[in-house]
Assembly symmetry: C2
Homo-oligomer: 249 residues x 2
């Protein structure tokens, strides 16, 4: 195992719809006096990916349904925000004061379907998750690799809460060019005991590691990870637990 190095990528401006994230990222890394190398992983927070893809909505233009109004009143949440959350979800998993846990159309179970009202660029704006985050990662990877001449991996990250544990952690919602799940099942430990049910969520660990150099308020939406031996071709689909084997739906 080698050592791993993680750097914030500075200098990105506020991202607007249509911005070329790959160009800004490659320039930002150039600003560090560095260039991308094959095997590097670029972790990009969902919010700038969504903004570049135009996944931003003004609540002024949202007309909440009776159901959204009812839920909003019950949980103390802007019914227009609830309306957007419901439109991004296939079902509500739990509701509680000021939070809706839903299953998104992508299959993620998370708070508010990932529809966020902070760091959106305006008080009345909400940012939704990318429509197809694995596709977003694939496109970003392609262009970054073309611009830099290096075969890199890309992880699109978001911070999700967890049952049982306080605090959000960064997880992967899209990935390209990296191992997403590393499978140790069927292998044996030195004493000959078979490793049971041991798969590691490597893409999530990359996202969490990147968060250490990001910081919620510092507007560092991109991190570069070098030295992790994680080249592969995983998809975040692999991280979605089969509802049939999920004990907590």
């Amino acid at each position: 195992m080698n050592s791993v190095w993680i750097s914030p990528v500075p200098g990105l401006p506020e991202i607007a719809s249509g911005a070329s994230l790959p160009t800004l990222i490659v320039e930002g890394i150039g600003g560090l006096g560095m260039s991308l190398e094959s095997g590097d992983v670029v972790v990009i927070t969902q919010k700038v990916v969504s903004k570049a893809e135009g996944r931003v909505l003004s609540l002024d233009r949202v007309h909440p349904s009776p159901r959204a109004i009812e839920i909003g009143q019950r949980i103390g949440f802007d019914p227009r925000h609830v309306e957007v959350i419901l439109s991004e979800s296939v079902r509500v998993v739990r509701e509680a004061p000021r939070v809706l846990i839903t299953e998104t159309r992508h299959g993620f179970v998370c708070a508010n379907a990932g529809v966020d009202r902070s760091n959106t660029g305006g008080k009345e704006l909400v940012v939704m998750l990318p429509e197809h985050p694995d596709e977003s990662a694939r496109r970003l990877r392609e262009t970054i690799s073309k611009l830099s001449g290096a075969s890199v991996g890309v992880v699109v990250s978001d911070s999700f809460g967890r049952p049982w544990r306080e605090g959000q952690v960064n997880v992967a919602i899209g990935a390209a060019g990296v191992v997403v799940l590393r499978d140790y099942r069927g292998r044996h430990d030195p004493a000959g005991y078979e490793l049971q049910g041991t798969e590691l969520g490597v893409a999530d660990e990359l996202a969490s590691a990147a968060e250490l150099v990001m910081g919620k308020l510092d507007r560092v939406p991109v991190a570069l990870i070098r030295g992790a031996s994680v080249s592969g071709d995983g998809s975040v689909q692999a991280l979605l637990r089969d509802p049939a084997t999920d004990l907590f739906r």
Copy 2:
């Protein structure tokens, strides 16, 4: 934000009860041609901490209760192993083929109460979690800091599964000298919108980052993290979600 550097700490032998982990860790880091610096974080996997503390049991000496036998038959699990899991737990949260999700005496909700049968040093041996992981971290921190002359942080890590997402990720089960939860609540984004419910599980992110240089089978139970600005005095208690606000118990 600075860059963060993570290195595996090589050279640790198989750990037996009573082993001086701090000495082995400081020597291992010396073997890298380095020395610890204040602000460094040492992440140590639970298994070696437990082994050093003698938290190892031979299943030959375990007499399963009728309840353990019944559960073992139902889920296809060695009833002696089930017995140890139950003795480490305050309640069973879910059971399914080959897995018991329980709440441990510490308050962790995880598979098999963290009682593990792989990489234990013998086919009939199980390793339990440390009795007081925060205390373990505090003692390790004290001795490592004394030996090295540097004020370091310590995280004791284990890999836990999650609802909804495949793959285990490393999380913190004990911590000393580091921020465990970083609280952004009440702060405002650049547009003046208050950040809602935003706390980051920093200690868990440190554990996940460390896993990138460990690897399940490679017997690298210790990682050194340098450059993360995480000095503090958190306890993993802060990561235990209050059952009253937990939607998934």
